[in-house]
Symmetry: C3
Subunit: 360 residues, 3 copies
């Protein structure tokens, strides 16, 4: 069990009080037991410390820890960063090294040193798994797929053909990497193409042959290093070049990244985000939960999109976007405010016009 | 095969006509065969009875069943409640008791009496499965997970470490309980934090180190009794305390419940709803399909949110919310109506101003 | 390896130059190697041909291929249709015929000729699999399910009881067909029913018994021929008749089709679309990504719905719909434009009133 002094050192933070105090876990202040390190990262958490029984806490820099009845404290200038390091220390590796006897691993698969392969996992011919990568139970890795060193792949993940995944990537349960893209074409121009061109004002012509012809996905997926993909998220294969996700990008649950999309580095795609085909997303872009980006668009670096916003056109670098359809956040808020006032204004106008006539 | 009399008794409803008539199934009126009980729960279904061949029907209370050519009828004051009971009677248990020989069950797992474990299911060390719980094929249950009595867990479900699930819970195929939360932090304040604080008007400063540090999920998930979770839905583990779903709450397909969220009792979360991290949802809350709730919010008891609405701030108990961003439903409808009229009003205004000038 | 002449013949397109030139793959113009067929389907791709090393390209009809330094070219009037045929030629069958020894196939299952069953797949009693159908690893097919000829079912797909699937259907990884519908009822009218009836203006009455009674799903799913279902998409079983998807309809990733829904033929449902219970969708309907359709609605043939739109009422045939709540696209665009101008107009109005007063 680590001591307060050891944890503070690992966190690069200052420790005060009894540095030799041992800690068994981390907890919210009110729920903390005697052995827990209470996490009270800002002054508004201080009051709830008294409801719990912690002897030690992780606090903000200038906290008056002695007045809180604590025996020791760790003072962290950026609390959530300290939490990142602390929770990593306290977490355990979920999968032991070694290949489970029930796994179906093709004899041509190249497994790096110290790899874990869980029960009932299937790995196809000529796949490559990097050293130290841990694969949970019931995963599918298609023939020829390549996975870097130190990755963590949870149960039910499906990795298709022509997929290449970098080092230290984390794939949450039931994520699907490399399913086929959604790409279809009619033999003659369809009514959708007509509607797009005419902004919905054109005549709808029913095609003589409404069948959708399938464009196959030959391009696979290329994922960089240190990427995370959430539970049930799907990243489709590209048509003739890979769909790409840049290093350091984090993708949340049930996100959909369509075929041919290019996502830059260090992006955050929050829960249920959807990015349509062939769109290019810059570096450090943040898409809030349920946000959507249309197809064939270019989103610049450092763009921030609020939750549930819908992007229908290109966005220059650094812009903050909101709404459906999305505009600059400050303009959108102005429009919302005006819209809220509108019913009253229209009533006033309606009442005012006859009044003015009387005046005249 | 049950008789009309037996079904009526089980439904707590009144039976009329030949109570000894046997029924082989249930069907919509027009599609009903001679052995079926036709379900015509309201007067607007009466006409279609003549298109089918049913001799018996489930009808509304004061229905004139004899004029419809029926031999027997069940008269139910609340038709859908009768359907709940009837369909339960007619359904079958999908999984036979016993452990399939191909399942990988750790010897330390504690299985209650009458448990079913399907083919190729994996159950980890020290997991507990309550009596009468039926687990389908190819399920993953992580070490230490606990499941109550009488649960029903369908194929492809993934249950992570530190997950506790109550009695009679139903998990639909490929649902994921206890994946890691989506929680990351940069070493210095990121441009998202700046954008949030400035409502999008601030300067975007590119951080010197854009790397996202991962906050690990140590808190697991705690699900009450009588909860249902839909196909492909995901409920993430909390950070240092469990993500919670209260007893009696029903969650539809592809719903996303993020880390640290607390959902109350008897809620309905419809298809593709998303709830962001650390938000608290009261009891009996109903979220319509594709609705989203932002992070760190508090939604009161009995709140109703319409489909595709986006909640960006706290909502008091009992309110009905609509729109993106959501407001009170009646105000939202007023705003929509005003917005529809707005183009014409602006044209009138534009036309009216010069006219007035001429008048002057 | 096919020659330019052979490919052109298969594509029904014109070939020019060295028809005997062999091609090893397809690539975007700038990335093309010497053996690749560069895909430059429109004049704006021509410039990038010089950046690559292709000797042959797929071009638009009147392209001046000789000036581009090519040895041969295929001239296709409808480029994406040519791509559909070309990518199909270049794709490979992912699963070899035969039943993998680790698969758990019930002895009563009827397998057609040339069927492939992947590793660790489970097929229940009395299921029927059509000739030439290829099933990947770790799939679940419930007892009694029926699948037509020539289907392709990828890893992790779950097919429930009472599901019937036509010929040549493609199911992407982790799709779920035939999970239970989301259908619940309280013993007395709930506050949701009250809110719906009163448009949110009524009193919220907390029911004495807030428990949700479950309506079981006995109706299964009926899917036509040539349907595709995307990764992680879910199609729920109907209550007493099947949920239906018509032939030729293509469904993208993470789409949710609820119980009792009827989807017509040749529709496109793009990524993350949601269709609520009992709604009827006509033929050739296109729903853009993240669009939602409420329950119990009727959407006419040939309707086009833009991305992220939310349909709350019936839509007549042939209409193009946009927005949340959705209206005709041209009216919606007019409203958006008016809304953008509104803040300035309100400021002008506010400034104008005192000015006029001064005038008076």
């Amino acid at each position: 069990m680590p001591t307060i002094g050891e944890i503070a050192k690992a966190l690069g933070a200052e420790a005060v009080g009894r540095l030799d105090l041992e800690v068994t876990g981390a907890a919210e202040p009110a729920a903390a037991g005697p052995g827990d390190l209470a996490l009270a990262l800002a002054p508004n958490w201080a009051a709830s410390l008294a409801q719990g029984r912690a002897s030690a806490a992780l606090l903000w820099p200038d906290a008056d820890w002695q007045s809180m009845g604590l025996k020791a404290a760790i003072l962290a200038p950026r609390g959530r960063l300290a939490m990142a390091r602390l929770t990593r220390m306290l977490d355990e590796d979920p999968y032991p090294a070694g290949v489970h006897p029930s796994a179906q691993v093709d004899p041509t698969t190249r497994l790096g040193e110290g790899v874990a392969v869980g029960a009932l996992t299937v790995i196809g011919a000529d796949a490559q798994i990097g050293a130290g990568t841990r694969i949970g139970p019931q995963v599918t890795i298609a023939p020829g797929a390549r996975i870097g060193d130190g990755a963590l792949i949870h149960s039910g993940v499906r990795i298709g053909r022509r997929v290449s995944i970098g080092a230290r990537v984390i794939l949450q349960p039931n994520a699907v990497i490399g399913g086929d893209g959604f790409s279809f074409v009619t033999a003659e121009p369809s009514h959708v193409e007509v509607a797009r061109d005419s902004l919905g004002r054109g005549e709808v012509t029913i095609p003589t042959d409404p069948s959708w012809h399938r464009i196959h996905s030959l391009g696979g997926v290329d994922i960089g290093d240190d990427v995370e993909v959430g539970a049930g998220a799907t990243i489709d294969a590209g048509t003739i070049r890979p769909t790409r996700v840049g290093s350091g990008t984090k993708i949340d649950n049930l996100v959909m990244v369509a075929h041919n999309v290019v996502v830059g580095q260090h992006c955050l795609l929050c829960g249920q985000v959807g990015i349509a085909g062939s769109t290019v997303i810059g570096d450090r872009v943040v898409l809030g939960g349920q946000a959507g980006v249309g197809d064939n668009l270019v989103i610049g670096n450092d763009v921030v999109v609020t939750g549930a916003a819908s992007i229908l056109s290109n966005v220059p670098a650094g812009r903050v976007m909101m709404g459906n359809p999305a505009t600059r956040m400050d303009l959108q808020i102005e429009s919302y405010k005006a819209l809220r006032r509108l019913p009253r204004i229209l009533r006033d106008l309606a009442a005012g016009v006859p009044k003015r006539r009387q005046d005249g």
